[in-house]
């Protein structure tokens, strides 16, 4: 029961881990390249949560010094994840561009169909 209470208390971490594993599973298990990228995107998103959750303090405000407020959230992880989101967008768009080119060259975006043609090298 303790485990369940722990889990309920930290449901946000449970969600993060679920997204992480689900994304990674899609990347590995799916042969369709667009689905692979969707999985990759979910996987990356889970990491955004991993960084953001611990840095948000309930009731905390933006870290601007003001006598009315005493609790502040940590801004650094937000900045880091802003960078990570940009990297993620670049990765996904490059991946999609590659898929377009693969579709032009092979006429399919299913990995196993390409490999079955004996052209996967």
């Amino acid at each position: 029961m303790d485990i369940l209470f722990d889990l309920a208390e930290r449901y946000n971490y449970a969600a993060t881990i679920f997204l992480m594993v689900a994304g990674l599973y899609i990347v590995i298990a799916r042969g369709n390249m667009v689905k692979k990228l969707v999985g990759l995107s979910i996987f990356q998103t889970s990491v955004y949560l991993l960084f953001i959750e611990p840095s948000k303090i309930v009731g905390g405000t933006a870290p601007i010094i003001d006598p009315d407020f005493s609790i502040y959230s940590n801004p650094l992880p937000h900045v880091l994840i802003l960078t990570a989101i940009v990297v993620g967008v670049a990765t996904i768009s490059l991946g999609l561009a590659l898929i377009v080119r693969i579709n032009e060259a092979y006429g399919t975006i299913e990995e196993d169909e390409i490999l079955n043609n004996g052209d996967g090298g």
């Binding site: 990347v27 991993l50 611990p54 990765t91 898929i99 080119r101 996967g120």
Partner: protein, 508 residues
Amino acid sequence: MSSVLPHLPALQVVIPLFGAVIAAFLRRGALAFAVALAVTWLMPIIAAAMLWQVIETGPISYAMGGWEPPWGIEYRVDLLSAFVLLLVSGVAAAIMPFARQSVTLEIDESREAWFYCMYLLCLTGLLGITITGDAFNAFVFLEVSSLSSYVMIANGLDRRALLAAFQYLVMGTVGATFYVIGVGFLYLLTGSLNFVDIADRLANVGPEQFSAMVAALAFVSAGIGIKLALFPLHAWLPNAYAFAPSFATAFLAASATKVAVYLIIRLYYSVFGGAIDYAALPISEVIIVLSVAAMFIASAIAVFENNLKRMLAYSSVAQIGYVTLGIGLANQAGLTGGIAHLFNHAVMKGALFVALGCVFFRVGSCLLNDVTGLGRRMPITMAAFAIAGLGLIGTPGTVGFVSKWYLAQGALDSGSWLLVFAIVASSVISVVYVGRVVEIVWFREPTSKAVIEASDPPLSMLLPLIALTAAVVYFGIETSASAGLASRAAEMLTGALPTAELPAGAPE
């Protein structure tokens, strides 16, 4: 001049970054090449100046944008990073003249400028990973270099290059994301992203948080393991190297995996080294077993490979095994061998892939069947291939011998005769795959029309090849430069560990 000197660490990264932008705006292949050449030849000068400064006065710390570490991003150059910076920029500078003719042949003219733009971005990323002292900044540079290398690989002539680039993109992104998860754990544990600062704070982390620290170690190991093609995470590498344009293969093979190895050495020794007692965890064993598996299995696959570029790619996986073996041994001689092999393998593989680029330039194929008797038509190219191949085997008088000697000594110091035997036995396999090529190229009559009409490539391609081959022999005889520096870097790293001599639990 004196106003420039303190900013060398920033210039090392900023110059290629701006070079990439300029190359993209120039639009013309020849102009973009001129920019890339100028930038690439400037890099080793900066790196050498910093190495000299490090040897004279100790590590350089540069506060990016004037924000003091650990709050701002610190660029930190110590002996190891200066060594790797000089290695990456030096090999890039050596192979750069080769690019002009090779890229003109293999890349569509409208894309040439973009190709040089991507190359310079990749160089930016690789130098950035090496120079930065900030864990998250290293991730950003890792992605800069990775994304640009996917584009370079996708530009290969064969349509399979697209597939190879996509597979590399998926695996590379998973690897980089694992690394970020590890960095996230480290940040949660210590509240810092600066490598030196993390190391200080990790030493004070309580035992109840030990498992979080181990999780961080596991995530970064798996993540960077993909990037450095540690067996069995190497699946992306053979196709990526085989179908990329010749210049991209030569550049990536000589630099990309080396920088990933640098990052893992930095994390193992400088960050986690003070906090985790490696003897209590089976990390050495895992790395050593995987390294030995890479040395044998990847070499054995290379023996049966018909595409020479793929053969050398599998050989790269095997050679990375020697480097990680040195990391796993974790003693002075072993780590020296590993770091020296980083240098030596970059020089050898640079030479070998440039030679294959020359072969492709003249014959239009890198398949073993298509190069029969090529030694008589392209004597200089194939002689260079043979000499660099001897280095791969580890023949005395070449660089390969020096690093394998140190590795064997490291294995002896850790008390494992079995590992010494493994190093020698796996070298015998490389005799087979290098010897097979040499036999077909030198001791058979040319048959195909393309081979009979072939001749040595133009001087701009030949000179880089000769320079790198000369380096294979020179650093094999004059060892104080490469192995000497590697030894001092290893001394610095193992000296930072709590117990200088780790009992590296080698498999008996």
